[in-house]
Each structure stands twice: as structure tokens, then as C-alpha cells.
């Protein structure tokens, strides 16, 4: 893998722990990952591999420790907000362990818009079996769904009469709504973007699942 030549981008990759996470998968030529950029870091959570429950616990521990101070100090988050953020990460990462049949990665950053509004972006991805196949292992009818149908159904509180269907992704969408955020889901040949309403976007095939979650720094509304 050839790294970028731009210093700022090299610094970003270093801050995000890119070289360490990709080293089992690729040889990174040159000096990428070895340079530290100047200026404040916007990193909340570096690229973190997720393979088993212990990895999810470590992510939660990081959020409740180091990241909590940033969330409280810079984004004005209170106890409920930190819980909501931790829940979003825990649900998204646990889905990798429980449903992807593969490993994945998670990362989070904070940003500031031009007008000064601060927000967080969380990225979670795996190259596993994807949402449709994951649902099909539990509900046979999912085998006949399109990928977009599978994503939409995974977000619904009740698409079937099954009383014990997992609601992790549904809860993520509820929290995102409460924080005036957005949820971007990509799996198979489908991509769905939710912000106030759902929109289907063009997508190239992706075997696993990608989530991009944004949460604003504006405080809490009722989740349910």
C-alpha cells in the first residue's frame, strides 16, 4: 500500500492508528504513519479492530474514560448523552461480533462546522456477510429480500411478529434522531441515508456492512 504524500494526511493517518490496524493486512511502504501533524487532534477514538466482545468492552471503557472528558468538556455532553453515545458504539460494534461472521473496525472523530456547531462522526465497518445474509440466518424470509429491503427492515421496530427480534440498529436510529444526527448504512448493493427521512443512494457493491453515524453536540431529547 502506498501512503499519501501530503503531510497533513499522513499526520491524520498516524493519529488514527491506521498503520497498526492495517499491518496484518497490508504492507505500508514509505513513512506514512510516522509523522505527527501540528495542531489539535479531532480524534475521539482511533481505528480500533473489533473481533470479540472484549474488544467492544475496551471501546466502551475508552468512551467512559478518556473520551468522556472530551465529550463533556468540548461538546457539552452530560451523563445521559455519554450513555447514548456509548450505547451507539456498543450496539454498532456488537453487531460486528454477533452478526457479521467476520471482524471489523470502529473509529470516531469530532468536527466543527463553519458556523461553529460541533458534531461527532462514528464509522463502523466489517467485510462480513452483510445485513441481508445476517437476517437470513435468523429469519428465512430475508433470503428473498433485496439488500435495501433488508436494511430498511433491520431499522424497523416491528417488521414481523417475532417477539424477540433484536432492536440494536433500531435503537441506534432512535438515538441519532434524538441528536439531530444522521445514519448512513451500506450493505450489499444498497445504501440508505437517514436524516429526518430515509433516502436511498447509489451504491457500488459492498460485501459487509458500513455505518456512518453523526451526532450533534446539542444535548438530549427523548429517545423513545
Amino acid at each position: 500500500m502506498l501512503p499519501p504524500t501530503e503531510r497533513e494526511l499522513q499526520g491524520y493517518l498516524h493519529r488514527m492508528n491506521f498503520a497498526a490496524v492495517t499491518s496484518p493486512l497490508a504492507i505500508l511502504e514509505g513513512t506514512a504513519g510516522g509523522r505527527r501533524a501540528s495542531g489539535p487532534s479531532e480524534v475521539l477514538l482511533e481505528l480500533t479492530p473489533i473481533e470479540q466482545q472484549a474488544d467492544v468492552e475496551q471501546v466502551i471503557r475508552t468512551i467512559l474514560g478518556r473520551v468522556r472528558r472530551i465529550l463533556e468538556g468540548e461538546l457539552g455532553y452530560g451523563e445521559r448523552d455519554v450513555t447514548a453515545f456509548s450505547t451507539v458504539l456498543a450496539e454498532a460494534c456488537t453487531n460486528i461480533c454477533d452478526h457479521s461472521a467476520d471482524r471489523g473496525v470502529v473509529a470516531a472523530q469530532r468536527y466543527t462546522q463553519r458556523g461553529g456547531t460541533r458534531y461527532i462522526v462514528v464509522g463502523v465497518a466489517d467485510l462480513g456477510i452483510g445485513i441481508r445474509q445476517s437476517l437470513a440466518t435468523r429469519y428465512r424470509q430475508a433470503e428473498r429480500w433485496s439488500h435495501i429491503q433488508a436494511i430498511v427492515n433491520a431499522l424497523h421496530k416491528e417488521y414481523s411478529r417475532h417477539p424477540d427480534r433484536g432492536l440494536g440498529l433500531f435503537m441506534v436510529s432512535k438515538i441519532v434522531g434524538a441528536y439531530q444526527g444522521s445514519l448512513h448504512i451500506r450493505s450489499g448493493d444498497a445504501r440508505l441515508y437517514l436524516r429526518h427521512r430515509a433516502r436511498r443512494l447509489a451504491a457500488s457493491p459492498f460485501p459487509g456492512t458500513q455505518l456512518a453515524i453523526t451526532l450533534s453536540a446539542r444535548g438530549v431529547q427523548e429517545r423513545t
Binding site: E57, E79, T83, A90, G166, G168, T224
Partner: protein, 188 residues
């Protein structure tokens, strides 16, 4: 007359103080249900979350939905639970579970008061709190605080609270005016 005896608390404990995922919730539910089933009838098992720093939604859902549905189904007879030592973080996700699954459960606050956590209408909550204050109540007791509500509707309230696992019918009384009268005790 049935009295509900409080058992020694059941401590919710995972591999660490951070509980996450449906699998862990399932294991926790198995342990809690086993202890509930083994406890004496006419009893309340306090479920202590003092060793839980964080519990995500999926874990809370798997644990509490299984347990509360088993209680509400009557499979466990007159064995009930009471939540205690909830951190704000844990209570937040439990409340989210209860709201989505239409469940409610009694909890003991740090100040020693009994409150309800979950989805319940104000009239039912008021009736339950009356039972907590008085120990046992009848339909006539409820009518005394809700004079505009018919006895039939009040009886429905009490039956509903019994279905929700918040009241237990202890005996049938014989009021001085004649007829039948059920006596209910709060799960608290």
C-alpha cells in the same frame, strides 16, 4: 393473606462491570431466572445492579424482557422482582427497553422509595402507589381517591396491574355490604 417476603438480592454480574450484547444478556437472564425459580413463592427478589457500570440496550433487552415476560406469564407463580442500585446510565437503557417493549417494573430508589420504571399510564401508576402506601388495597380504596371512576373500571385497573406484575391478588374478602371483594398487595 399473602405477604411478599423480600429475598436476599441477586447481584447482576457479567465478566466485567461493562455489560454488552445479547449473548451476555441471555446468560444473565438464565442466572436470574434460575434463582427466581428456586426462590420461595410469595416473594420478591431484589435485582441489584450495583456492580454494573454500563449496560447497552441489547443486553438490557435480552435480560429484562425475558425475565419480566416470564413473570407476567404466571410461569413463576407469585415470585417477583424489584430493581435496585441503578446508576443513571443503566437506568437510561433499562427505561428505553421498557418503553419499547411495553414493560414496567418497580425499582427501589437510593432514598428508599418505591417507584416505577417503564411504560405505565398515570391512573395505573397512581393506583399502584396507593397500594404501596397502604400495603393492601381493594377496589373501594381506589374509588375513594377516584370517585368519578366506576367500580368496574377500577376493577379493570387492578386486574391490569396484576397482569403487569405490580400487584398480587392475595385473597377474596367479604365486605360488610355483602358481595365479593378482592384484596391486592403491591409488589414493592
Amino acid at each position: 393473606m399473602i405477604g411478599l417476603e423480600r429475598q436476599n438480592p441477586h447481584a447482576v454480574e457479567g465478566r466485567t462491570e461493562l455489560l454488552n450484547g445479547r449473548r451476555e444478556g441471555h446468560e444473565l437472564a438464565d442466572r436470574l431466572l434460575a434463582q427466581l425459580a428456586a426462590s420461595e413463592p410469595d416473594s420478591i427478589l431484589p435485582v441489584d445492579f450495583g456492580r454494573v457500570r454500563f449496560m447497552d440496550f441489547s443486553c438490557a433487552d435480552e435480560l429484562m424482557t425475558r425475565v419480566l415476560r416470564r413473570i407476567r406469564s404466571g410461569e413463576l407463580g407469585t415470585r417477583f422482582i424489584l430493581l435496585q442500585d441503578l446508576s443513571p446510565s443503566v437506568e437510561e437503557n433499562l427505561a428505553a427497553v421498557f418503553a419499547l417493549r411495553d414493560l414496567v417494573c418497580a425499582k427501589l430508589t437510593k432514598g428508599g422509595k418505591i417507584e416505577l420504571l417503564g411504560k405505565i399510564g398515570p391512573e395505573l401508576a397512581e393506583t399502584y402507589q396507593l397500594a404501596v402506601r397502604k400495603g393492601t388495597i381493594t377496589a373501594r380504596d381506589v374509588a375513594a381517591i377516584a370517585p368519578d371512576v366506576g367500580i368496574s373500571a377500577i376493577s379493570n385497573r387492578l386486574a391490569k396491574l396484576q397482569t403487569m406484575g405490580l400487584l398480587v391478588r392475595t385473597k377474596e374478602g367479604a365486605p360488610a355490604s355483602g358481595g365479593r371483594q378482592f384484596v391486592y398487595r403491591a409488589v414493592s
